[in-house]
């Protein structure tokens, strides 16, 4: 993955406007957070292959950390903390944010075909 280039990612997001797309959205601090630190709290959520259609999309941010919002007919898809992106060999848009040790903290991925289950 490469550091997010805001104009390039904006163009990529618009590639999927008004199309049925599959989304993988995830955030996690790991299954061991409270095992490694008694005061920590395990938090995580993911949704894989949610089928949505968005009519408006924007990436916003400063420095090297960004937020993405996808506006649906009756709702939103939102991710915060994205810093890297890639259009992979299957032409899917992958965005993610990692901590200093390279561990994934958040990811938002968009594809016209379902992600491998």
């Amino acid at each position: 993955m490469d550091p997010i280039h805001i104009e390039k990612v904006q163009t990529e997001l618009e590639r999927y406007l008004n199309k049925d797309v599959y989304v993988h959205l995830e955030t996690t601090n790991g299954a061991y957070a409270s095992h490694n630190d008694e005061n920590a709290y395990n938090v995580g959520a993911f949704i894989r292959n949610a089928k949505v259609r968005y009519n408006h999309a924007k990436i916003v941010g400063s420095g090297n950390v960004y937020r993405v919002g996808l506006k649906l007919d009756i709702g939103w898809v939102y991710a915060e903390g994205l810093s890297e992106y890639e259009v992979d060999d299957q032409n899917r848009l992958l965005m993610a944010g990692h901590d200093r040790e390279g561990r994934l903290m958040v990811t938002l991925e968009i594809s016209e075909t379902p992600f491998h289950y």
Binding site: M1, E26, T28, H35, F46, E86, D88, G102, R103, Y117
Partner: protein, 218 residues
């Protein structure tokens, strides 16, 4: 001497961190070992350090790493095809029957798995429970011994000292080699440091020097 040992864990690298010294010891005695690995660790957070995988490529990397680790240990591998983080939501009875299919075939004398409720990750607890259920469903005469592994904060307090302690010092090199085969995971889990500068072996020796298990009592 054991006839055949079956190791049942959910993630590629559980065998490395948890039991690779013990596995190496059995292999050195000529005992066949089969690893039933539940998932491909699809939802792991460690993407290599520096990062080389992403959420979509991680399973392919981890599958290769798992195969390499099993080659290092010279053991058989079966990948069970569940998805990381979802094992606790599967039907325990179905998973148990799935596992029992392998056990009926292999007829092991010993099964190594996680101690349900004391193995921290929900996948560990769920697959450990299904493994024990699978053995329970076998005829009493056919049942292998079960060694269950616990490492939650409270396990010593609540379960007492493990009755099985395997001296893995002669096999420590093998254990390190197995851990390092899981390239995307090793440095993240060994302390989140740069593998080029960190002394992973020293960390591993301190943190992973002993492999201890509880013999399961039905």
């Amino acid at each position: 001497m054991e006839k055949h040992v079956v190791v049942i864990y959910p993630h590629p690298d559980d065998e490395a961190f948890g039991a690779s010294g013990t596995i190496a010891k059995f292999r050195s005695e000529g005992v066949p070992v089969t690893y039933l690995c539940g998932t491909l660790g699809e939802m792991g957070r460690n993407m290599g350090n520096p990062t080389f995988a992403n959420r979509e490529t991680l399973p392919e990397f981890r599958k290769k790493e798992l195969i390499n680790a099993c080659n290092v240990l010279d053991i058989e591998l079966e990948m069970l095809g569940y998805r990381d983080k979802t094992l606790e939501f599967e039907s325990k009875a179905e998973v148990a029957e799935h596992l029992k299919g392998f056990l009926d075939e292999i007829k092991p004398s010993l099964v190594i798995t996680h101690y349900p409720g004391y193995a921290v990750h929900p996948d560990h607890n769920a697959l450990g429970a299904a493994a024990i259920e699978a053995v329970k469903r076998m005829g009493e005469a056919d049942r292998p011994t079960i060694w269950a592994q616990a490492f939650s904060r409270t396990h010593l307090e609540e379960l007492g000292e493990p009755d099985v302690a395997v001296d893995i010092s002669p096999f420590f090199k093998k254990k390190m080699e197995t851990i390092l085969a899981h390239q995307s995971q090793a440095s993240g889990i060994l302390g989140g440091m740069d593998p080029a500068t960190a002394d992973l072996e020293a960390i591993a020796k301190e943190r992973l020097g002993a492999e201890r298990f509880y013999t399961w009592k039905f």
